[in-house]
């Protein structure tokens, strides 16, 4: 059956949300992210800022060099998630087949909808533009691979300093021709190493890959060679996955300044643990493995984990385990740049309740549920531990 897949991406999403709250930002070069003096990075930048060469994930200090008038706006993550939820609601209202990729990106399976795919895309874009005042771009094709590339291409065509709000349609049957002139790095699965090797082989465009003998690609690149040969011809049978099962829940923090203060590290571990615990409980998950991640000041990163018989999502359990793991790797002086906690090894979250649940554990669970409710309603910062003040 002929499929119709949309790839939808909100244009400079964080910036667009900031502009809604502060219309003075419109048309200005600004970036959402951390402070340049403390090594923040650019999380999102406005289209006027992009005209100066500012890009996402760039160190803020570099962004300021490129664009001295750059306005720096602090992250307001809660508002981005709230807005993202509203976008996803509209998408789910359009079709039940929505695969959320990230806070601002999703695939939709629109196969079999009456009307021209282009008109459907215009209708959806208009709804998001008007109801939420957010710009968004769509790529439309017969599969996920081509839809996503089409969206990137459509946006790249508009270099005006304004949000692209683009729509790019690749009609069925023209996928291979559409991809042929594009550079190989546009193809999903071609990383820097593969690209370098391909360039050595004289392969520059996706069309060049498609023209190669399949066997040669398999000989050179193994299984990925086979996949790339298919993809280069615009073939991708992956379905739109409505819900992707979560494999792990983690939370980490990069310190503004490298830290070797034991109290601060412990506090941070506990905050990450509580954050992970709350998200687990919200998703009804329990895991058997607790993992910590530590990045030292020289950027080397280590992980350590510990696995238990029984799955849990209890904050205290996560924290105690994480702390124990941490105390085994930390000598008490080494400076730390990043610290994170994760829980994986999910088992059925089902928990057999006990007839004689000890009053302690009942109370602990009760307290945890109450805290979760308060944070859910009033935001993450609404509650703090006395020791954190």
């Amino acid at each position: 059956m002929q499929r119709t897949i949309f790839h939808l991406d909100l244009d400079a999403f964080y910036c667009a949300v900031e502009e809604l709250h502060n219309p003075d930002l419109r048309g200005q070069p600004f970036a959402v992210g951390g402070s340049p003096t403390r090594r923040g990075v650019v999380a999102s930048c406005s289209y006027p800022a992009r005209m100066f060469g500012v890009r996402s994930a760039m160190p803020m200090s570099r962004a300021v060099q490129l664009c001295p008038d750059l306005i720096i706006v602090r992250h307001s993550h809660d508002e981005y998630s709230a807005m993202s939820k509203r976008v996803m609601t509209i998408l789910h209202d359009t079709t039940p087949f929505v695969e959320k990729l990230s806070i601002d990106e999703a695939f939709l399976d629109m196969s079999g909808f009456p009307g021209e795919p282009y008109d459907l895309a215009v209708g959806l874009q208009k709804r998001i533009n008007e109801e939420l005042e957010l710009p968004c771009s769509l790529g439309v094709a017969s599969n996920k691979l081509v839809a996503k590339i089409a969206n990137n291409m459509g946006k790249a065509r508009q270099r005006t300093g304004q949000p692209p709000n683009a729509i790019e349609v690749v009609p069925p049957g023209t996928e291979a021709n559409y991809l042929a002139p594009l550079p190989i790095r546009e193809l999903w699965g071609v990383g820097p190493k593969t690209a370098e090797k391909m360039h050595e082989m004289g392969i520059q465009t996706i069309g060049d890959i498609a023209a190669q003998k399949e066997k040669l690609l398999i000989d050179q690149f193994g299984k990925i060679g086979y996949d790339l040969h298919l993809r280069a011809r615009g073939i991708d049978a992956r379905p739109v996955v409505i819900e992707r099962p979560t494999k792990s829940v983690s939370s980490e923090i990069t310190f503004d300044v490298d830290v070797n203060d034991s109290d601060e590290l412990k506090r941070s571990l506990r905050q990450q643990s509580e954050n992970v615990g709350r998200r687990l409980r919200k998703s009804g998950l329990s895991g058997r493995t607790v993992q910590i991640k530590v990045r030292w000041e020289d950027f080397t990163t280590i992980t350590r984990q510990s696995t238990f018989e029984q799955p849990s999502h209890n904050d205290h359990w996560i924290y105690e385990t994480a702390l124990d793991l941490f105390q085994h790797v930390w000598d008490g002086t080494r400076r730390i740049r990043l610290i994170g906690v994760g829980v994986s090894g999910f088992e059925n979250a089902a928990r057999q309740l006990s007839l004689w649940e000890s009053d302690d554990s009942k109370q602990q669970r009760h307290v945890q549920n109450t805290l979760d409710d308060i944070r859910e309603r009033f935001g993450d910062d609404s509650l703090q531990r006395g020791s954190d003040l």
């Binding site: 998703s283 059925n348 089902a350 309740l353 007839l355 004689w356």
Partner: protein, 379 residues
């Protein structure tokens, strides 16, 4: 010792007393059965020091005496003899017993009876007398929910309470609780509260004849219970400790009453169990009252990541609000299997409160109640 017995009487007796033989005995003599002449009968006894069973078999005693022989071997041998008279004679010098039956001649080496622990005898005039049928029915409905492992030994036992004319038995394994009561035809003088190993009662259930009268005594200071029925004595140690206060966990009220046909509900649960097996045995019950006053429905479902899923919709009369609640399906199957009643009542509150199952339309003297804790599942 010189004694003659009928093969079928001996085999029946051995099949009963051998229940007390532990397959991994702590002393070699405990894998043996004691044979002893007593008042013109042959007494058979076996024990594992926790549970002892004795039975008296009609015999022709020509010379008194006693010996122990390997229980398993003796049973295997005698059950394969022809249904005739068995003549047994003990050679006391080498503790070997000679058996003659039809054309079969067997010599079986034993261990002297003196090495066998003393097995006390029950009081045949005990004051507590329970009809066999009543006790059997009670045990069949209460023993199943006792804990199997003994990390909390009291939970491997059946809480038993005689008070006034009421006998109460309760068992719990931490996730479910069964309370069974019966009204006796007499008053027990002083209240009696003990914990009997579930295993003892399960063995007794198998031994009792419906027509038997069971004489129960709990001698002072011995921490033992004695049952006497027909020609059989069962003596068991009691479990020391105190049973948890189970009355507290019986929900005082409920928001939904669901009336179900037991057989139909049981079959729906068994279908779900196939799919719940590799998913922590979880099955979900969705209780849906009808909106127009007609009968409602209960939706029983389970799913397996590998196999697929199963949903059964069964008719039910529902009073109260709709509820979705998950249970370990085995705990439901267990209780539905032991009940014989046509209809049952399921009482529920929220998805995290215990559910209660009661049989409907039964004799008021035979009360049954089952409390089952739900499983909590994420969204």
């Amino acid at each position: 010792m010189r004694v003659s017995v009928l093969q079928e009487n001996l085999v029946r007796g051995l099949s009963i007393v051998n229940r007390a033989v532990n397959s991994r005995p702590t002393l070699p003599v405990l894998s043996n059965v004691l044979l002893a002449t007593e008042d013109g009968r042959l007494k058979l006894s076996a024990t594992d020091l926790e549970l002892s069973i004795s039975m008296w078999v009609g015999a022709k005693v020509e010379e008194d005496g006693s010996v122990t022989v390997p229980a398993r071997t003796f049973y295997d041998l005698t059950s394969n003899l022809s249904p005739e008279r068995i003549d047994m004679e003990l050679n006391t010098r080498n503790q070997t017993i000679n058996l003659q039956c039809g054309g079969t001649d067997t010599n079986l080496r034993g261990i002297p009876a003196e090495e066998f622990p003393l097995v006390p005898e029950a009081d045949p005039n005990a004051k507590i007398v329970i009809p066999g049928e009543v006790l059997k029915h009670m045990i069949s409905e209460v023993a199943f929910s006792a804990a199997r492992e003994d990390n909390r030994p009291v939970l491997t036992g059946i809480y038993t309470n005689f008070s006034g004319n009421t006998l109460t038995m309760a068992s719990a394994d931490g996730f479910r609780l069964t309370v069974r009561k019966t009204t006796l035809d007499f008053e027990v003088g002083e209240e009696l509260e003990i914990i009997i190993p579930a295993r003892t009662l399960v063995e007794i259930e198998k031994i009792i004849d419906d027509e038997d009268e069971v004489f129960v005594s709990v001698p002072d200071g011995r921490n033992q219970i004695m049952f006497h029925m027909g020609d059989i004595d069962v003596i068991s140690n009691l479990i020391e400790g105190s049973f948890p206060e189970y009355e507290r966990i019986i929900p005082a009220n409920h928001s939904t009453e669901t009336f179900l046909y037991r057989d139909e509900f049981l079959r729906a649960c068994k279908r779900s169990e196939i799919f719940a097996r590799d998913n922590s045995n979880i099955a979900r019950l969705r209780v849906e009252p009808s909106s127009d006053g007609g009968p409602g429905a209960v939706n029983v479902s389970a799913q397996s990541n590998e196999m697929g899923d199963n949903t059964s919709m069964i008719d039910a009369t529902i009073e109260g609000t709709g509820v979705e609640i998950s249970f370990n399906i085995r705990y439901l199957i267990d209780v539905l299997n032991v009940l014989r009643d046509d209809q049952i009542l399921l009482e529920t509150n929220t998805s995290s409160d215990p559910g209660v199952i009661r049989p409907l339309g039964r004799d008021e003297r035979e009360q049954f109640l089952y409390v089952i804790m739900p499983m909590q599942v994420g969204q």
